[in-house]
């Protein structure tokens, strides 16, 4: 199971008007693998994720999910095999946390999904908030509610079709430290059960902790790819983020960065955007 490719993207590019947002990206994600996509603002990370979720269609190249062209699946079939957590979701009507999480069940009857709903709400630590209306919660709490909704969607699909894929677009952007770690642990637990997980992350230290493999992007292309130890190096970071940095290592060899160890490269005028 561990090495079955779940998602394969070959040579995908996206051009809108004159702008090339993504240029010839290849990517294969196998069952049970955790992949982090990192890079500066405007590197094409979220665009890549939106292509992988079938939200956008690539101008060139092909993406297959479980051996079938991504766009050949119907929306309902797709939802049973890939779950995606978007960066910003706003809810303008007073749905409660529980009602929002229940939306993850798709066409499944409520009775058979309710235990999954309860488990997901407890897992993200919103048990006391289940009857609160979502617009009254803080940004981080709302993000956790949506994560719970995505977990229900994933669980409903995996119960029928086996391990699927979980896509997370900056899932930790409004979470505090504890909940960032919890989200990583929840994702890792899913990966242990065979789910392939891809997350766009900004925090390189979190990416190191999160991922088996890191994809570093710059200007719509892959600049480096490999294990955290291979990709989070001063050389790669200098090349991609235009900053000088000393990369330290933990006792078990994992790289980490501190802001004090970074400084903008002298004479560099580019603040890549």
């Amino acid at each position: 199971m561990a090495d079955t490719p779940v998602l394969t993207a070959s040579g995908i590019s996206l051009t809108i008007g004159q702008a090339t947002l993504l240029n010839h990206v290849d990517l294969t994600v196998t069952s049970g693998e955790m992949v982090a996509i990192v890079g500066p603002n405007g590197a094409g990370k979220s665009t890549l994720l939106r292509l992988l979720s079938a939200d956008l269609r690539a101008s060139r190249g092909a993406i297959t999910l479980k051996g079938r062209d991504l766009h050949a699946w119907s929306p309902a079939e797709l939802a049973m095999r890939r779950a995606m957590l978007s960066q910003h979701v706003s809810v303008s009507f007073p749905f409660t946390v529980e009602e929002v999480v229940q939306m993850g069940r798709g066409n499944l009857p409520l009775a058979s999904a309710q235990s999954l709903v309860n488990a997901a709400i407890d897992e993200v630590g919103l048990g006391d908030f289940r009857h609160r209306e979502l617009p009254t919660l803080s940004g981080g709490e709302q993000q956790r509610a949506h994560f719970a909704r995505i977990l229900v969607q994933l669980a409903c699909g995996e119960a029928v079709h086996g391990p699927g894929i979980l896509l997370l677009d900056e899932p930790t952007s409004s979470l505090d430290l504890r909940h960032q770690i919890e989200l990583v642990e929840i994702s890792r637990q899913r990966a242990r059960n065979g789910t392939a997980v891809i997350a766009v992350l900004h925090d390189l230290n979190l990416a190191v902790r999160f991922a088996d493999r890191i994809i570093v992007m710059r200007n719509g292309a892959v600049a480096a790819e490999g294990t955290p130890a291979e990709t989070i190096t001063s050389d790669v970071i200098r090349r991609v983020f235009d900053i000088d940095v000393v990369v330290a290592r933990t006792d078990d060899g994992a790289p980490y960065l501190l802001p004090q160890m970074m400084q903008q490269i002298a004479n560099s005028t580019s603040i890549t955007g």
Binding site: A79, S92, E99, G106, H131
Partner: protein
């Protein structure tokens, strides 16, 4: 954030908001309210039929030999009052449901077919149909005669809804400000068109067109009831297929797609449903505003925003409200009749303002 805002936020965060009584109670209440309103509507009017004479007038019981009004009561009830109540109930239900669907589609509690020009678009097309069917082009459309008005109102509403959606949504997001402003502009265009038709119409056509502008149920007949009943049935069936999708659509088009909803199909169905139901209402009784905005708003406070219950409940409450409003409209200045649009606007507009004030902080208007 001011201190008062902070206090309010803290209050809302700790208390949340309390939902009203259990859903089943609300639904039973709605049904009871509809029955009561219908009963009231049947008994009062220019010619009152007291409750004691109602069973005889309905033909449910033998008439009291001493009752000199039995024949008159029956005539009034069956040929005037009951068709009018039936039409008011159906149209109220359709307007309530059309408002709820439209608000889900636009993810915006301020959407209402009458407010944003969908009804005006329908009325413009209907007024156009009146003028055309009376002109030298009449023989081209004569085969459509019985359906011409509903059809024209439907097409007008449909086109308006599509244009509105195209203008106000961009890459899967709808801008609330853009939506309301576009709605105002579209309503203005449709009203200018109606004005032009009024200008070129002859006296007889003018009387017919004026009827659309005021909104009235006084022309209710059994045949009109029969024309709109299938449209209500279509709306009710359509709700079964749209309620889950509309729930998820509240999260945004991308999220709905990620959750397995065929968003384009859902949008098409919703636009057709809104247009059919608004068009049907407009073709029979002209433009009646605010039912579509008040009904779903009140219901969301009581049973929450889930569309599986909200849509059928909107039909129920919309029906009660319009039957009630129509009863008021024909008794308040009896024997004359007040145009019902005035009543619904007098009650609905303040509620609209109230929603606007509550939303002010949330949507950045």
């Amino acid at each position: 954030m001011t201190a008062a805002d902070a206090k309010l936020t803290a209050f809302v965060r700790t208390k949340g908001r309390v939902r009203g009584p259990a859903t089943i109670v609300v639904l039973c209440g709605l049904f009871a309210a509809l029955l009561l309103t219908v009963l009231l509507a049947a008994t009062v009017g220019a010619a009152g039929i007291p409750l004691s004479r109602l069973p005889a007038a309905l033909g449910l019981a033998a008439a009291d030999p001493g009752n000199l009004f039995a024949a008159r009561d029956q005539l009034i009830l069956w040929s005037i009052r009951i068709p009018r109540i039936a039409i008011a109930a159906m149209i109220g239900g359709m307007l309530g449901a059309a408002g709820a669907i439209m608000q889900g589609l636009f993810r915006n509690p301020l959407a209402d077919p009458a407010l944003v020009g969908v009804s005006s678009g329908g009325a413009f097309a209907a007024a156009g149909a009146i003028v055309i069917s009376d002109s030298r082009f009449a023989h081209y459309v004569s085969f459509l005669q019985p359906f011409l008005l509903p059809l024209a109102a439907f097409v007008g509403s449909l086109l308006t809804t599509i244009i509105l959606y195209r203008i106000s949504s961009r890459s899967g997001r709808t801008s609330i400000a853009l939506f309301l402003l576009a709605g105002i502009a579209i309503a203005a265009i449709a009203n200018a068109g109606i004005g032009l038709l009024v200008f070129i119409a002859d006296d007889r056509q003018l009387r017919d067109i004026t009827f659309w502008l005021l909104g009235s149920l006084s022309g209710a007949t059994w045949s009109k009831a029969a024309t709109i009943a299938p449209m209500l049935a279509l709306g009710l069936v359509g709700m079964l297929f749209t309620s889950r999708g509309l729930d998820v659509l509240i999260l945004g088009e991308s999220e709905a797609f990620h959750s397995g909803v065929d968003v384009e199909r859902l949008k098409r169905i919703c636009i057709v449903l809104v247009s059919v139901m608004t068009g049907a209402a407009v073709s029979v009784c002209g433009v009646i505003g605010f039912i579509g905005i008040v009904v779903p708003h009140l219901l969301r406070l009581m049973i929450g925003p889930g569309h599986r219950l909200l849509l059928p409940a909107s039909v129920g409450l919309g029906a009660s409200l319009l039957v009630g409003a129509d009863t008021l409209a024909r008794t308040i200045v009896a024997p004359a009749e007040m145009p019902i649009g005035i009543l619904t606007a007098a009650v609905g507009a303040p509620i609209f303002l109230l929603i606007l004030l509550r939303q002010r902080g949330l949507v950045g208007l």
